[in-house]
Symmetry: C2
Subunit: 134 residues, 2 copies
Amino acid sequence: MNPRGPACGAWELLLEISRVCRAPAVAEEVGLSEAQAEVLRLLDAPEGSPMCRVADRLGCDPSNVTGIVDRLEARGLVERHADERDRRVKNLVLTPAGRELRERLAEPPPLLRALSADDQERLFEILSKALRKI
Amino acid sequence: MNPRGPACGAWELLLEISRVCRAPAVAEEVGLSEAQAEVLRLLDAPEGSPMCRVADRLGCDPSNVTGIVDRLEARGLVERHADERDRRVKNLVLTPAGRELRERLAEPPPLLRALSADDQERLFEILSKALRKI
DNA sequence: TATTGTTATACTCTATAACTATA
DNA sequence: TATAGTTATAGAGTATAACAATA
C-alpha cells in the first residue's frame, strides 16, 4: 500500500495501467497515433461532431484538429460534412472503416478482462462515481 | 452501463479519467510535457536509473530519452551520473528540485480525492489485482 | 560482437498568432 | 464583432538508422 494513502496509490496504479495498455492497444492496429485514436474514440454521436467540439473535448487548440483529421481522412476513417444550418461548421463523421476500427480500439486490455466479473463491475461503479464528481 | 460489458465500460472510464486528469495536473506545474513528467515519475529508485531502463519502461526508443533528459537536465531536475562499474551506462538521478516536483506530480486529482476512503481502498485493491495479471 | 547512449532525419503533436468565410 | 476552421511557425515527442565508446 502506498504510504501516502489509498487515493495516491490508486492514482499511481491508474496512471500505470493507462500507460502500459494505451500504446500497445493502438500500435497493434494500423499504427494510429494516440491523438488520432483519441479523436476516433470521441466520435460517439452518430450524426457526427463539429470539429470545435472535438477540439474542446481533446483539450487542445482547434488548429491541431485540422492536421489530425487530415490524416484520419487520408486513411478513409472519417469525413468532413459541411453543416447545413451553419456553413462555418464541419461535422466529423466516421466512415464504415472508421466505425469498425473505433470498436476494435474500445476493446478492454487483457489486464482488465482478467479480472472477475464482480471486480469489473465494482471497478466500473467506483470510476463512475469519481467521474460524477468533476 | 456499457452494453458491451463491465470490462469495456471500466476501460472506457479509465481512459477518460486518465485523459482529463493527466494534462491539467502537469500543466499546473512548471509546464512540463507529459513525457518529461513521465520520466520524473519513473525515477523511483534512490540510486537512480540507467537511461536504457527508462527507455524500456517508457516503451520508446532510447534515442528519444536523450532529448527528454536534456530538457529535464537543463531545468535542473535530473542529473546524468556515469556508472562506475560499466562506463557505457549513465544513471539518471533526481536533484532535490526534481524530487520535490516529482512528489507534487504524484498528488491524486480532486476527482479521486472526492471518493470515500472505502472506495479509494477498493479501487486500489482492484487495480492492484489487475496489474498483477500482466 | 553486443550494448549504451548519441546524432541525424523525417513525421506527428502542440501552442500561438494571423487569416478566411461565415454569422 | 464574434465564431469555425485553416495556415504558418516553432518547440517537443517519436521511430529508424548510423555511429562512438565500452563491454
